[in-house]
């Protein structure tokens, strides 16, 4: 049941017919893990907290650095040196005190990924490296948890949604290890891609619209152009 305050807070989205009161209650009951609270994780977390997702778990081992502030909009100058999850948690609680937010300041690796993911309905991939992305993707498939992938570089980004067992996953596209890099990026790219990831999460929870499943959406900010590529499950995928 929504409280009177929640009715008022979410009124503008409750009156969207694809959401309604039932959709809002679903959002309130949802538990979403956001892996990475940087450039992508910031807009994802802000939008999901504002929309009233009932439980948000934030995972990030990193601390706020001055070079993060061009894009990681949950972290401000005064947060430099703080754990990103603590900085994010503080802002999100001020944005929406009605939801539960948990901060997990750990590095996601083989030893803890299962425990971190457990009890989450959905996983948002907002990581900054492929190794962690593949690890989360694998765990999502094994635990049958929908997985919302986003990635950026420069003015560009890409998004896809994975429904385990049904649609193409990150591993279906795996072509071998890619060297890590300090990637160039401007904040508007993760702002666009993170907002799309959050849109997918909200659509999935309320059960409306068409998901980016078996579809890879590529955004080119320099041309201001979206291109959609059709994907399919790879029969050789090892997941």
């Amino acid at each position: 049941m929504l409280t009177r305050g929640e009715h008022e807070r979410y009124n503008r989205q409750i009156i969207i017919k694809e959401i309604g009161e039932e959709g809002q209650e679903r959002l309130k009951s949802a538990k979403v893990l956001i892996a990475g609270v940087g450039g992508l994780g910031s807009p994802v977390a802000i939008n999901l907290a504002a929309a009233g997702v009932g439980v948000i778990r934030l995972v990030d081992h990193d601390r706020v650095d001055l070079s993060n502030l061009n894009r990681q909009v949950l972290h401000w100058n005064e947060d430099i040196g703080r754990k990103k999850v603590d900085s994010a948690l503080e802002k999100l609680r001020k944005l929406n005190p009605d939801i539960k937010i948990k901060a997990i300041g750990e590095t996601i690796d083989d030893s803890n990924v299962s425990q971190i993911v457990d009890d989450s309905d959905l996983i948002v991939d907002a990581m900054d490296n492929l190794a962690a992305r593949y690890l989360l993707n694998k765990c999502a498939i094994e635990k049958n948890i929908p997985f919302f992938h986003g990635a950026v570089r420069g003015f560009e980004g890409r998004v896809m949604t994975v429904i385990p067992g049904e649609t193409a996953c990150l591993r279906c596209m795996y072509r071998g290890p890619v060297p890590a890099e300090i990637f160039p990026v401007i904040g508007v790219a993760p702002a666009v891609i993170g907002a799309i990831q959050a849109t997918e999460v909200i659509k999935f929870i309320v059960g409306s619209g068409y998901l980016l499943t078996n579809r890879l959406l590529v955004y080119d900010g320099l041309k201001l152009k979206f291109t959609e590529f059709k994907l399919k499950k790879n029969p050789d995928c090892d997941l």
Partner: protein, 90 residues
Amino acid sequence: MSIEIYIHTSQVELTDGLEVVEVDGKTVSECLDHLIEHFPGMEKGLFKKKGELHPFVEIYINLETVYPDELNKPVKDGDKIHIILMLAGG
């Protein structure tokens, strides 16, 4: 035979600024060979070694995935090949 190859934004500097290059070929591999004949710099941009694409290079034909074994996939007149690059940043 005329196939259009759509070059990734970050690689147009290797094709003299061309975003779309027309090539001939019966397979993706032949089309890429033709592309490299005209723009030799694309070889390093696409291939890790002879016959093996960089793991961050993705090939689509007519906006559909052709992975795995994409180099051997047949193409026909009018097809469009998109080259895009894997992204990892967040």
